[in-house]
Symmetry: C2
Subunit: 184 residues, 2 copies
């Protein structure tokens, strides 16, 4: 069974090596990990970005499940491309799993950025926009989608020492996916 490996891992300096490690963990649990960088793309092509999209979508259509890395990326929440892919897989009725190596609440991360005020029991950021404050790790659409379309978000008890290379939560997801997909 094939699992699509979504995440901002592809933006790491050692993106290929991380993909290899993730695929090896999948293989150890009897699953085949599909990693975006497995697609061969000519980055010099005029339509390189479209080729990447098409390759990723084809991989998702081929996979029975997704494991999304929702570790906060370049801001208080998850990487947009990863979130799009999680939504796409949920919409396609595939099994959805995800992890974040930062278990803190979304509202706390926004507050750490400064400028957050509380008025009438509701938090607002420096621009006056409401800050979701349900104690969840990220936007409620992703968090509850996981419960409904697969398994609840997996997070360590405390933030990982190396959020981009710690694959313990990822392996927990793989184990759960294998139990479900392979009926172990």
């Amino acid at each position: 069974m094939k699992i699509y490996l979504a995440g901002p891992d592809v933006f790491l300096p050692d993106a290929i090596e991380i993909g290899r490690r993730k695929a090896a963990i999948c293989a150890a649990h009897g699953l085949t990990g599909l990693y975006p960088l497995d697609n061969e793309i000519d980055l010099a092509a005029h339509d390189a970005s479209r080729q990447i999209f098409a390759g990723n979508e084809a991989m998702m259509d081929e996979a029975a499940a997704v494991i999304a890395n929702l570790t906060p990326f370049r801001g208080p929440g998850a990487d947009a491309g990863t979130v799009y892919e999680l939504g796409y897989m949920a919409g396609r009725g595939k099994l959805c799993l995800a992890y974040s190596n930062d278990p803190s609440a979304y509202a706390d991360r926004v507050a750490r950025g400064g400028g957050v005020t509380s008025e009438g029991g509701s938090l607002a950021d420096a621009h006056g926009l409401t800050v979701e404050d349900f104690g969840l790790t990220d936007n409620l659409m992703m968090i509850h989608a996981l419960e409904l379309h697969g398994f609840p978000l997996v997070s360590p008890a405390g933030t990982s020492a190396d959020v981009w290379h710690d694959l313990a939560a990822f392996e927990t997801c793989v184990r759960m996916a294998a139990a479900k997909l392979l009926r172990i």
Copy 2:
């Protein structure tokens, strides 16, 4: 025909009024806009966030199309909840439209935040993570999904004076959706 109105508009201080304006524009074009805040949720309930999720998902399942507001929100890119919903609707095979009131390139917005370096033709942020640099307005997954599953992203020529209240690009999306769904 029903259209789901996705966007961080729900986090604005005048979220309800914006929803009314969007619904009125839809109605003027013969469409019914479904806005998340139309769902009555008891925010004091222990499972309020799950009720919001369930209400939004039911609305999406009911709608023939989505118009997502991808205007950058709390960071260089679009709101995660909105992006999840766009992915979900694409996965369900619904007609996908979106707009952003900031037409600048994603890489330029990240660069404005500081710390971006260029090495060997590739951009990296202050944490050494690659910055997508295809000249696109946001992550390639959303941008190309729109082309494939609906219409290309709609943006004004320059950033709107009031990115959260300018509904011109939104209305363009409504017009395109009406032409397609109502075969005008």
